[in-house]
Amino acid sequence: MIRAEGVGLRYGGAEEGAEGQAPEVLRDISFSVPGGGYRWLLGPSGAGKSSLLRLLHVAVRPTRGRLNLMGVEIGAARRHDLPALRRRIGMVFQDFRLLSHLTVFDNVALPLRLADRPEPQLRADVTEMLRWVGLSKVSAMRPSLLSGGEQQRAAIARAVIVRPLLLLADEPTGNLDDVQAERLMVLLHEMNRLGTTVIVATHNQGLVDRHPGPALVLERGRMVGDG
């Protein structure tokens, strides 16, 4: 599913050794996660967790090393092959990134529309998903009118509506109270049980303690723990 070998990331895309280049935010990252695996992604703020998630979401390409996602070599892949790959990856952002001009329903339906899912089937799936995350009553509302927890659930619904093979979450419980955080963890474990590979970045050690599992540990851009 995921195999990284000596991956480095430098924003700005400067080649290694070039003068005036920005420092590497990720260095010599090597790890692998099998299909259906679950990993915590741990580390202090600034360790590179979000950058690694961006790499795994194909929002950036590695500036060195090899990264293979679902059989696709990211560094060498043709650009027009990447949208289809991204549609198989769900991403829950810390700041939700819901589109403010769309309703909750249209936000959640967006990945299906990008995948050209027929409208009747799409409406049934989105309606069911909104019911599952408890947002049926607010489906016609704009995200700005929702509470932080409701926005988080809408973002999660948008990430999982396509039944992704890989689900990435960046501090997904950061804006949730304990009850909602526990519900979210149940949802993520349920997705994982159904076969989705899940990687959750957090610095909430309590959450990890309550849901123990294998972890990738980053520190100053380097992988210092895997397992």
Partner: protein, 325 residues
């Protein structure tokens, strides 16, 4: 059975882009100028063609000392009177007779004294006819078919009345052709310039829209939207705005084009036309009788604007998206 509503989702929120309503106005101004340029190119072509045809089909003959006796005619093979009668034939009449006998001549018309005075008045003033100037006879000739052999005709006329000038207007024809061609080239250059400016405006507007929707575009990109999807949404909006502006510009330009075409009609018509101020009937008549090339190209303006908008926006968005992986 209830119908399933399948709205065209404005996923990028382009309806909320600031300045969205400015683009049709700018394109309308461009379309207005483009319509005038098209009409100008067509008008220059028509005027040039008409002037060239008119000038090419006429000759002007100047006979100095027209009242003087013509020299004796050649003794053999000549249709001229004999030596005794020659003294009674003036140089003007000899030239007229030769012109009327020549092949390729349709009409021969000597200008009267009043017409000569009219020609001289701009240079010599109102007293032109009172001056005791030795004026030549001026003969206006229209040619038929391919016209006469000008060199042979000029030689014969010069032999019959030495000093006679035959002006074929060839130089004027060449200059008129050059002038008409230059006017047309200027109009087409203006059209190309307007097209380029319109494309540049659409590119700038699209980049501004991209800047204001950057986060939305990046979010959609992360959700798996292809370049074609994103560029298509921007290009669709730009195309609509440009088409709307094109229609508005065309509607604004049409009355101006019709008035100009009506004013130009007397100068391109093959038959004499009343050169007074045009009436409403004249304008309607002109609208219905605009040159076919113009009739086809004017309605194509909104379509061209839409196509330019689509292509320019596609190019701008796709170039911008290259910054994303």
């Amino acid at each position: 059975m209830a119908r399933v509503r399948t709205p065209r989702l404005d996923a990028l929120g382009l309806r909320h882009v600031p300045g969205e309503r400015i683009l049709p106005l700018i394109v309308a101004a461009m379309a207005f100028l483009a319509a005038l340029a098209l009409a100008g190119a067509q008008g220059a072509a028509d005027l040039g063609r008409h002037w060239q045809q008119g000038a090419a089909a006429t000759l002007t003959i100047q006979v100095p000392r027209p009242g003087a006796p013509a020299p004796a005619a050649e003794p053999a093979g000549s249709a001229s009177p004999g030596a005794e009668g020659a003294a009674a034939v003036t140089r003007r009449d000899r030239v007229l007779a030769l012109l009327r006998e020549a092949e390729g001549i349709a009409t021969v018309r000597p200008l009267g004294d009043a017409e000569l005075s009219d020609l001289l008045r701009p240079w010599l003033g109102a007293s032109a006819e009172q001056l005791a100037l030795p004026l030549p006879a001026v003969i206006a000739v229209t040619t038929a078919g391919e016209g006469p052999d000008l060199a042979a005709l000029a030689a014969r006329l010069d032999a019959a009345a030495p000093g006679t000038l035959t002006e074929s207007h060839g130089q004027w024809v060449r200059r008129l052709a050059l002038l008409a061609g230059s006017l047309r080239a200027c109009a087409l250059a203006a059209l190309a310039l307007v097209t380029g400016v319109a494309a540049a405006v659409i590119v700038v507007a699209t980049r501004a829209a991209l800047a204001s929707r950057r986060e939305v575009v990046e979010t959609l990109h992360g959700l798996g939207a292809s370049d074609g999807y994103v560029a298509g949404r921007f290009a669709g909006r730009a195309s609509q705005a440009a088409a709307l502006g094109g229609v508005a510009g065309l509607l604004a330009a049409l009355p101006v084009v019709v008035v100009l075409a009506t004013l130009a009609a007397p100068f391109v018509s093959a038959v004499p036309v009343d050169t007074g101020m045009p009436t409403a009937g004249d304008l309607l008549h002109t609208l219905l009788r605009l040159p076919p090339a113009l009739l086809w190209s004017l309605p194509a303006l909104p379509l061209s604007a839409a196509a330019i908008g689509y292509v320019a926006a596609q190019g701008a968005v796709r170039a911008w998206l290259r910054h994303l992986p």
